[in-house]
C-alpha cells in the first residue's frame, strides 16, 4: 500500500487524479446539497418546540462539522508533511485553512442566528459556540503564522507544528469549555440542543453534511491544482500540458 501512497504523492499523478475527480465530486456535491435543501426546507416537518427556526441546523450543523473536519485534515496533512516530507500534503493544508476558517465563521454566525429566538441575545456563551469561537482564533493564528514567515519552506514546517499542537489542544479546549459551561450555567436555560431529531429531519442533515464535505474537497482540489501549477511551472509535464492546452 505504501508504494501507492508515494506514487500519489508525486504531483503529476495527483494533478491528473484531481483533474478527473473534481467534476465528478462537483456534480455529486450539487446533487446532495440540492436534495438536502429541498428536503430540509420543504419536506421536514416543523419542530413542535422551535417552530421553523430549527431549519437553520441544515447549515449550522454541517458548517460546525466541517470546521472540525477540515482542521483534522490539516493536522493529518501536517503529520504527513513533517514525517514523510510529502510536499503535496503541505499544499493541501495550506489551501484548506481559509476554507476551515470560513466554515467556522459560518458556524458561529448561523449558530447565533439560530440561538437568537431562543435566548433573546445575539451571542450566548454556549459551550459549542464558544468552542467554535476559539477554533476560529486557532485558524486565524495558523494563517497568520504561515503568512508572516518569509522563507516558504520554514513557514510550511512551522505551520505544520502549530497544526499538530492545535489538534492536541482542540479536544482539551472543547471539554474544558463544555465543563466550564455546565459549571456556570443554571440548568434552566435550554442550551443550543438539537431538537428531537425525527428521521425525516435527520436525512436532510446528513445529505447537507455530505454535500458540504464534497464542496470542501472540490474547492480544495481546485486550489491545490493551482498551487501545483504555480510551483511546478518549469517542470516538463506542466510545459507539455501548456503546449497541449490541457491545464
Amino acid at each position: 500500500m505504501f508504494r501507492w501512497f508515494h506514487k500519489l504523492a508525486s504531483t503529476k499523478n495527483f494533478y491528473r487524479l484531481a483533474e478527473i475527480m473534481t467534476p465528478l465530486l462537483a456534480v455529486a456535491c450539487a446533487l446532495l446539497i440540492g436534495v438536502g435543501l429541498y428536503q430540509g426546507l420543504f419536506v421536514a416537518p416543523t419542530d413542535y418546540e422551535q417552530g421553523e427556526s430549527y431549519r437553520i441546523i441544515y447549515v449550522h450543523v454541517p458548517s460546525a462539522w466541517m470546521s472540525m473536519f477540515i482542521y483534522m485534515v490539516m493536522a493529518f496533512c501536517s503529520l504527513l508533511f513533517l514525517v514523510w516530507k510529502m510536499k503535496l500534503a503541505d499544499i493541501v493544508a495550506e489551501v484548506s485553512a481559509p476554507l476551515g476558517a470560513s466554515f467556522t465563521f459560518l458556524a458561529l454566525v448561523t449558530g447565533s442566528l439560530w440561538g437568537k429566538p431562543m435566548w433573546g441575545t445575539w451571542w450566548e456563551w454556549d459551550a459549542r459556540l464558544t468552542s467554535e469561537l476559539i477554533l476560529l482564533f486557532i485558524y486565524i493564528g495558523y494563517m497568520a503564522l504561515r503568512s508572516s514567515i518569509e522563507n516558504k519552506s520554514s513557514a510550511a514546517r512551522a505551520a505544520a507544528i502549530l497544526a499538530l499542537v492545535g489538534v492536541v489542544n482542540i479536544p482539551i479546549i472543547h471539554y474544558s469549555v463544555e465543563w466550564w459551561n455546565t459549571l456556570h450555567q443554571p440548568a434552566s436555560i435550554t442550551k443550543l440542543g438539537k431538537p428531537s431529531i425525527h428521521i425525516s429531519m435527520l436525512i436532510p442533515l446528513l445529505l447537507m453534511a455530505l454535500g458540504f464535505t464534497l464542496f470542501y474537497f472540490v474547492t480544495m482540489l481546485l486550489k491545490t491544482r493551482n498551487v501545483i501549477l504555480e510551483r511546478e511551472v518549469n517542470s516538463a509535464w506542466v510545459r507539455e500540458r501548456i503546449k497541449e492546452d490541457r491545464l
Binding site: L37, F42, T46, G51, E52, S53, R55, I56, V59, H60, S63, P98, L99, S102, F105, L106, V109, T110, L113, W114, K116, P117, F212, F215, V218, T219, L222, K223, R225, N226, L229, E230, V233, V238, R239, I242, K243, L247
Partner: protein
C-alpha cells in the same frame, strides 16, 4: 408561497443564515476559479515568451 417564505415568523433568522452560507461558500469557490484563470493566463504568457 408567502406563508412558506414567512418561515413561521422566523424568516429574518432562517433566510439570512442560508444566504450567508451560500455567499461564503461560493466566494471560496469563486476565488479558487479566478485564481485558476490567472495561473493559466500566466503560464500561457510565459510559455509564449519562451517559445519566441
Amino acid at each position: 408561497m408567502t406563508e412558506f417564505l414567512a418561515m413561521g415568523g422566523y424568516a429574518i433568522y432562517v433566510w439570512p443564515s442560508f444566504a450567508l452560507t451560500a455567499i461564503v461558500m461560493l466566494a471560496n469557490l469563486f476565488a479558487a476559479l479566478t485564481r485558476r484563470k490567472k495561473v493559466i493566463a500566466m503560464l500561457k504568457r510565459q510559455h509564449a515568451e519562451t517559445k519566441t
